[in-house]
Subunit: 411 residues, 2 copies
């Protein structure tokens, strides 16, 4: 998840409030079982923003996804309201009503009209939201809005479920002479798979950019970041990435055909990649990050298919957990992925050390391979031996704790 | 995995030696690390048999798979030699040579010409077989051949890797007035996925049947049994199912267009289904068997895609492990499977109890659903609400022990 420096990208502290023109809050509304945990987040812009969004590809889509899709289509939004602890998914027409009521509750606080409120939810599937708690929570969240570092962190904490870490990223970049900012917060730990996952990400920028330019930029950034990570191959019903662009930086507004758009794309890519990397590193029960680069593929589709088969193989992930250089599991996962490969030319490096060459064992000391497999960051570089294309996917290991978290999770 | 009774199928004890005309043995050759464990199995027919085989669909195929494919193409075989502890996969041309040497070693014992010896291996990928051990083991296995119940069991034990149970099945059936037998042994616990897995199955029958009738019968039986199970979605490099038909029962030899073939098919289906069911029940770390019936699908491909997505979801499997009726995970797995479904008409039963109706929560007491999820056999019946087709797939739960077994497995 490399970022380019041509945009003069600089990492800065904070999340959604790193951009000018936003306020945020996080409050406890009693949706989560554990008392006092933050579970309602509210993000409000000082003025209407250009807005874009990307949503789950799951055919079973949560009510807030259906609601927010309509808002995004209009290209403009002013607020995001999000709850954790309940996904409002598989809840039928009542769920649709509840998602709309969340937007109306924001309107009733005077912060934004309901048609300009994006809604997101994450948590258990198949239970109705406790709407009295949600409504009073939204009122309190509106009263608590602010733009201090504490507000930034409270919003990021309010969207967490099984996450163990608060995930934020922010950058400054130079765009047409103006200094712009881009910041975001995200959550996601389990039910994480290609084409997004139970992951929510909220990104702000104070760059001025038209909605018609913002949506394709977001699509491209998501494709290279959130769609390249997997924890367990299970695509969620609630995946959502929103971006709000306030224009507060004062740059000339970017249009879809603008050359300067590349600079903005670099900043957005960097933000999304940083957030996606934080999700994988905090995957449920994860102890290591695994980077899988597949090269020598006949096509991008093949390279991604092989990389994802490896990333989703419980056998590969358990081997990484055990620090065991069991490279046969990696190569055989590529073999059943559907990607074309030449069994006699397949090569695998583990953190740069050859494990398999010409489809046969390489000859590094086993102890050296084991040493690499026990590092915090394990990189597999697999050459399929048939083409020139490469793609990279990130995942984490599979630990006993993943099972414990998901076997003992309360419904 | 129901079997039909029209063939007058009767379950009998034993495995590969249930059929007349075979001898078997299992010996310890020092291929496995643990001393004294059986790791060479030998099965020999008194006379040449009609033979058929099915092999892994993984593009990375082990040397014994390449070797045995040629033998099967000739339609006739007289012996099977198999080792556990080493898969002889990703071993290049030396591996091909070693597989051929195993067949030659059987020929040298005088039991069968090398061209009539089927070879199979299972175990670690990417290491050369210790051929001196293998050759002396084969010689001892030939000397130890016999047809007692002990020989039957020793053969079945010699093919085990992480299996905790010896897996065998045998039936008698009536074919054109003759009493025939069909018996088999198999192994498989991890690296088990659709299109076969690190699973080996060896089936014998004393029915007389032509090779041209035997191969399609085996293909059909495998499609309905071994290709409908999954433990971890990881398709192995070594999957193999062999059948040898001795003709010792004295029935009129079955041809490909024979009406009586249906009776034989029923017996073969029953044998394969029994063995496949034993693999799932003994999946690595498994505590429960999960049966997933998807109905109301637009096509068989859709029904299987949905059933397999559910069966391979670590989140679903961990929920089953915890006895947690987290049905949202089941429904959402179907949602990302690629199968067509109607979100408003989706229905899910857990052991016959409605959990989700019309895409919304049903209203059974949560305690009753939890009770069903804690049973040894959990059946999900999912209606996609768009068609008339149904398919069933079997899997097991995902436990902390699965991770322990595969993180600590030695390379």
């Amino acid at each position: 998840m490399a970022s380019d420096e041509r945009a003069d990208l600089r990492k800065i502290p904070g999340g959604v409030l790193a951009s000018r023109g936003f306020r945020a809050s996080g409050v406890s509304a009693g949706i989560k079982i554990a008392e006092g945990q933050l579970d309602i987040g509210l993000l409000v812009a000082d003025a209407p923003c250009a807005a874009a969004g990307m949503f789950t590809t799951n055919l079973i889509q949560a009510a807030p996804v259906r609601y927010s899709r309509q808002v995004v289509e209009r290209g403009s939004a002013r607020a995001v309201v999000v709850n954790s602890g309940n996904a409002n998914a598989c809840t039928g027409s009542r769920g649709d009503h509840d998602a709309a009521v969340m937007a109306v509750a924001v309107e009733q606080t005077g912060q934004a009209p309901a048609t300009e409120v994006l809604v997101a939810s994450t948590g258990i599937i198949g239970q109705r939201l406790p709407m009295e708690n949600v409504k009073s929570g939204i009122a309190r969240a509106a009263a608590a809005l602010g733009n201090t570092p504490e507000h930034d962190e409270q919003f990021a904490r309010a969207i967490m479920t099984t996450d163990t870490k608060c995930k934020r990223a922010a950058f400054t970049f130079q765009l047409a002479g103006a200094t712009c900012r881009l910041g975001g917060a995200c959550k996601g730990s389990g039910m994480i798979a290609p084409n997004m996952a139970t992951m929510l990400a909220f990104i702000t920028t104070d760059a001025a950019i038209r909605p018609k330019a913002l949506q394709p930029a977001l699509r491209r950034a998501v494709e290279r970041s959130f769609n390249r990570i997997t924890v367990d191959g299970h695509t969620s019903t609630n995946d959502t990435v929103f971006i709000l662009a306030s224009g507060g930086a004062g740059n000339r507004e970017l249009a879809a055909d603008d050359d300067e758009k590349l600079v903005f794309q670099q900043a957005l890519d960097a933000g999304c990649c940083s957030l996606a990397g934080q999700i994988v590193a905090d995957g449920e029960g994860a102890t290591r990050v695994v980077e899988i680069e597949v090269k020598g593929a006949a096509s991008s589709i093949d390279a991604l298919a092989a990389a994802r088969a490896i990333a989703n193989s419980p056998l590969v992930k358990a081997a990484v957990n055990g620090g065991d250089p069991n490279w046969g599991r990696v190569v055989s996962a590529a073999g059943y992925s559907g990607a074309r490969l030449d069994p006699g030319r397949v090569e695998l490096l583990i953190n740069g050390l050859p494990a398999c060459q010409h489809g046969r064992p390489a000859k590094p000391p086993q102890a050296k391979l084991a040493e690499q497999m026990a590092r915090e960051h394990v990189k597999f570089t697999l050459d399929l031996g048939v083409g020139e294309t490469s793609e990279t996917v990130w995942t984490c290991d599979l630990s006993r704790d993943y099972v414990a978290i998901n076997a003992d999770y309360h419904t």
